[in-house]
Amino acid sequence: MEALIEAALRLAAPLLLAALGELVIERAGLIHIGIEGTMLTGAFVGFVVAVGTGSALTGVAAAACAGAGVGALFAAFTVLGRVDQIVVGTAVNLLALGATGAGSRALYGGAPPSAPTLGPLLPGPLAEVPWLGSLWFAQTAFLHAGLLLTLVIGLVLTRTRPGLQLRAVGESARAADSEGVSVPLVRCLAVLIGSSLAGIAGASLSLAQSDSFTEGMTAGRGFIALAIVIFGRWSSVGVLLASLFFGFVSALQFRLQARGSGIPYPVFLMFPYLVTLAVLALASGRARAPADLGRAYAREAS
């Protein structure tokens, strides 16, 4: 049981970070299906920088910047250019998949080296303590960062003026605009922040869950993050719970797989996506999305 929960937490961390990123973006009124590609970019850039500098932390920082860079591209088209967000998100995914694939082949010729990884939060005796050790101290900082960010984002959204402005922009861009809030500015910032979180989530895959980069290694986690935001009803605590649920499902899947239950491997591959679909079918309809989600905003012309 302890091992199962340990694995669930470990697997939930990247989902939580990516979903929090998407949450920030969606609360500002944008749907970003390019989160998948953003994660992949973060995973790749983080890996390359970590290998180059020999520091995993530098890699994570670079991943955040790379995520923000991808976010800037998305924001330029959707917020400033007011192009359809689904279309641009798809383009971002294609670009990221191609660029990271080509980049990794160009740099490593198909055999990437091992990167330094981000180890447990507190290695040593504390990590050996039953339960508390494996569930807290032996986890990587990605989990702790995710938990902290859940709290911070929740507070910012309800208890600060910038948070209120973000929600106002996502719920009614026109009303926010007439109150002197700059809709493009808020939306661009939200995309940059959210995308850098997705970049960090990607780095957690190549610098903590493994020590290498493989093409397409995000394997749809960015899309599951989209579903988590819906399942979590657009609240940070909801997103945390939904991420833990998906982490648990993945852990369960690996456990069954390791047991050698005789179930063929592809069934396990399919499992998270089927669960996501089922959850969406159950959760949709009741939840309330931000009212201006997915709508481009432009002031009316005179």
Binding site: T160, G163, A168, S178, G180
Partner: protein, 486 residues
């Protein structure tokens, strides 16, 4: 579109800005509050010359210009306290819900504007929303308050409460610009009045020098003859053309839930149903358009029960006309001809045969309708998005009257139209009923309903109330008040 407009307002004064729909009142005010950039002009506030290149919503707020928009500019999903605060440049970084709520309550007491500050705006009545919005502008220290058609969503009693609040503000040295197209309101509240017509100032005078008839002429630019009434309808006989029985629905809010509506409209009769937004009009419209399923009750057309789906209703001879472009079923991006045939895609043999469109027939029919109804430009291939509101609405009227429907449901059919177009639509409604059609007119405009209807009903909190023939405006207002008070 504005053309060389000048106006001024002093502290402690109410300036009424009068003009028919489309005269440019709202545009002018949007310039003042920074939402629209003018091509040329000068703006002075408290003697300070403003650089219009730097002018925007934020600058307007900083210069103590507060605007209360015609369509609420509050964020529905946020509480009143949150709405008061999120755009306030003076507020700090943090937002403490409880402290902010107390501050908002204090503000509401200070200005005598009662608002439940802890609730979400989407749960408030229209009157409460408006008070919250005025409160926000005042809390921001607005010296100049702009009210854009503030009474459109209010009951007469709420409106008079608003007028006294406005007077109090002026006595406290604030300046108010009050936008309206109703003469009676101007007389009740304003010191001076400026009249706009087609984007130009045509007159600017003190209210006490004002003769109503003169003012009407200035506003419209011509004397409209009174609406020609047709002969009163023949006494009712036989089956009603339209009958609602025990109609109940869920609603967008508790007040707008329909509760067992029963109503009969006979051939040749116009039944007017007046009500304030949020009292079930929208829900009733959606049921009669076939896009909302009622929880109980039925609709009969000429005695036959009709399935509440758009196609079945249409086939039964019920047409639906709306002043809202979307509810009217007008698709921007499609041509006039395509919009003209839009509702017939399932069964109209003139334009659709064997699943294929007869484009030529559609063009011909549209062109004929455009000629008859004076749609400008009468080009069937033009994107409807390029038409003015009045002309798009004329196309909708042409389409709905095309099949000479036995029952016509018209919902705020002249909303947003200029006087000429509105008059045209009214004439068409009268003509339809004179030709034996039954017309159900749902409107928030009491004047419109009074001018057209043979029989008057009020829709209040999802229920129907009879209005006696000859009831005066105050009595009707009291009846409608059952609505917005909460």
């Amino acid at each position: 579109m504005l053309d060389d407009v000048s106006l001024d307002v002093a502290s402690g004064e109410v300036l009424a800005l009068l003009g028919e729909n489309g005269a440019g009142k709202s545009t002018l005010m949007n310039v003042l509050c920074g939402l629209v950039k003018p091509d040329a002009g000068v703006l002075e506030l408290g003697g300070e010359r403003i650089d219009l290149a730097q002018w925007g919503p934020r600058a307007a707020l900083a210069h103590a210009v507060g605007m209360v928009h015609q369509h609420s500019a509050l964020v529905p999903a946020l509480t009143v306290a949150e709405n008061l605060r999120f755009g306030d440049p003076q507020a700090g970084l943090w937002f403490h819900p409880r402290a902010e709520q107390r501050a908002a309550e204090a503000l509401s007491r200070r200005f005598g504007l009662e608002v439940p500050v802890g609730r979400r705006v989407e749960d408030l009545s229209p009157g409460q929303r408006q008070r919250a919005e005025i409160l926000r502008a005042l809390g921001r220290g607005a010296r100049l308050l702009i009210l854009d058609e503030p009474t459109a969503v209010l009951t007469p009693n709420e409106a008079s409460a608003l007028f006294s609040a406005v007077r109090r503000l002026c006595e406290a040295g604030r300046a108010v610009i009050f936008i309206s197209h109703k003469l009676s309101e101007v007389e009740a509240v304003a010191d001076r009045v400026t009249i706009l017509r087609r984007g130009r100032v045509v007159a600017s005078l003190a209210v006490r020098d004002l003769a109503a008839r003169e003012l009407g002429r200035l506003m419209l630019g011509r004397d409209l003859p009174p609406l020609a009434r047709r002969a009163p309808p023949a006494p009712r006989s036989g089956e009603p053309a339209l009958a609602l029985q025990g109609l109940s629905t869920s609603g967008a809010s508790e007040a707008s839930r329909l509760r067992g509506l029963a109503l009969e409209v006979f051939a040749g009769e116009i039944v007017g149903l007046v009500g304030i937004d949020g009292n079930g009009q929208r829900e009733l419209e959606e049921v009669l358009a076939g896009v909302r399923r009622p929880s109980a009750g039925e609709v009969r057309v000429a005695g036959r029960r009709v399935a509440l789906q758009p196609r079945a209703l249409r086939r039964a001879g019920l047409a639906h006309l709306s002043g809202d472009r979307e509810s009217a079923g007008l698709v921007r991006g499609m041509s006039l001809a395509q919009n003209f045939i839009l509702k017939g895609s399932w069964d109209d043999r003139r334009f659709f045969r064997h699943g294929r469109i007869d484009q030529a027939a559609a063009r011909r029919a549209t062109q004929a309708a455009a000629q008859r109804f004076g749609i400008v430009p009468p080009d069937p291939d033009l994107d409807i998005a390029l038409l003015s509101g009045g002309n798009a609405q004329k196309l909708a009227v042409a389409r709905e009257l095309d099949g000479e429907p036995a029952v016509l449901v018209a919902v705020n059919p002249t909303r947003g139209l200029d006087v000429g177009s509105a008059r045209f639509v009214h004439e068409q409604l009268l003509a339809r009923s004179a030709a034996g059609g039954a017309v159900l007119l749902l409107s928030t405009e009491l004047d419109e309903v009074l001018a057209l209807a043979d029989r008057l009903l009020a829709l209040v909190r999802g229920e129907l109330r009879e209005i006696e023939a000859g009831a005066d405006r105050a009595a009707i207002g009291a009846l409608l008040l059952g609505a917005g008070a909460g």
